[in-house]
């Protein structure tokens, strides 16, 4: 694992910064155009959640360079209100934004691995991983 690179999310502009950094890292690892676009879309979703619901948070990237596979990990960390009912948030169609396929289930679909930890009043950490095929 390389060192983490992080973008702190404070204004909407930071979402764009996070997308840019994520896309650059993904391209360097060797992801194609479609996957770059998928990664950027997921980063938007994660960063937007921080921007909208948490005072403080960042989106970080790690490059996984293992013997047999390479990949990118995107980690979203915030000290927001936390998620009360994780199972509910992970349900399709729960997203109150009304959009189809949006929300955390969408992020999960765009990546290969998905982990979430959240504590009410303390914050949320989401860690997703996409492997290069």
């Amino acid at each position: 694992m390389d060192l983490q690179s992080c973008v702190t999310i404070e204004k909407e502009w930071d979402i764009v910064k996070a997308r840019q950094l994520g896309r650059d890292i993904a391209r360097e690892i060797g992801f194609g155009t479609v996957d770059q676009a998928r990664i950027a879309t997921a980063i938007s979703e994660l960063a937007r959640n921080i921007y909208l619901y948490a005072d403080n948070g960042q989106v970080c990237f790690e490059v996984a360079d293992e013997l047999d596979q390479k990949g990118i990990a995107v980690i979203s960390l915030d000290t927001g209100p936390g998620i009360q009912n994780i199972s509910q948030v992970m349900e399709d169609g729960y997203s109150t934004s009304g959009g189809l396929g949006a929300g955390l289930p969408g992020v999960k679909r765009l990546f290969d691995q998905f982990d979430i930890q959240s504590e009410e009043g303390k914050g949320t950490e989401i860690r997703v991983m996409k492997w290069l095929r």
Binding site: V34, A40, D92, G99, A102, R109
Partner: protein, 336 residues
Amino acid sequence: METLNTDISNYRNLLKHYIEIRDEQSLYGAEQLSKAFIKDNVPPEEIINLHIQALSELYPDIPEYLQYSMNFLLEIMISYGVAHQEFQTLREEQSELKSEIAVAANMQDTLLATTEPDVDGLDIGVISVPAHQMSGDYYHFVMGEDGSFGIAVADVIGKGIPAALCMSMIKYSMDSLPKATMSPKTILKNLNRVVERNVDASMFITMFYTQYIPAESKIRYSSAGHEPGFYYNARSKTFEEIKTKGLVLGVSPDADYREYERTIYKDDMIILLTDGVTECRQGDRFIETEEVLEVIGQYTDLPAQEMVNKVYKHFERMQNFRFRDDFTLIVLRKEV
């Protein structure tokens, strides 16, 4: 998710052919290919990518701005791809849920199974078809020890799973009533208490309970707010509504029910039903009672079972094969 090489070359060849000749056949090919992609779970953004690849193989000198424009389109399509994937999950979930409901509906059939009494001189026809998978209509025959028997016809206000759950309650409550208590008004009074105690205040059940006493050629009946049935007079060939009063089950803990009595004669019929029969629709219009009776009247010469079948088929066609409510129709004809 991965696009196969054969797909790329298929796509490229078909695209090339279309650009050169622009015939309908290539577009037909495109459609077939598109269906194959969907079947193989290829998301729409992969299609855009495939298009980009095919184009740049066919036209290596494609203008830069077009390359960029296609990347933009691809970015737009990512959210559609996520929605498309959600669709696939939803489809699986839906089919799981539907088969779960099918199992439950099957159980309900077993549970609510009732045997038509075989009474000399009485011809009985019954049909009961749910609008959805599970029924909120209920009918049950209760054999008495003196040759008399009872018929319960009930309808939960509402359809589908909650109604069906509620209906199974009625079944158990009926089962737990002492067999001796065959009087319609006592049965309704007892059931009313059970429903009132056990069921959510928003759930109501209507029931019509008829007791047939062969020795006296009489029926006794009481109704808990149920859709009125009809009495068919064979001599005058006319129908008459069976008028009753009585509160629906589950409203008030100490409702009392009136009991009515009527003598029936040779070839007369008692027609019991739920509002799924009388409230059939044609287009946006509810049909009138007279129309229902007209339809029933057409088949009065048939055996009771054939009669109810014909009536059902008539309304099925009229409603475009989609009932909006559970449909239950019972005919008793005195043969002697």
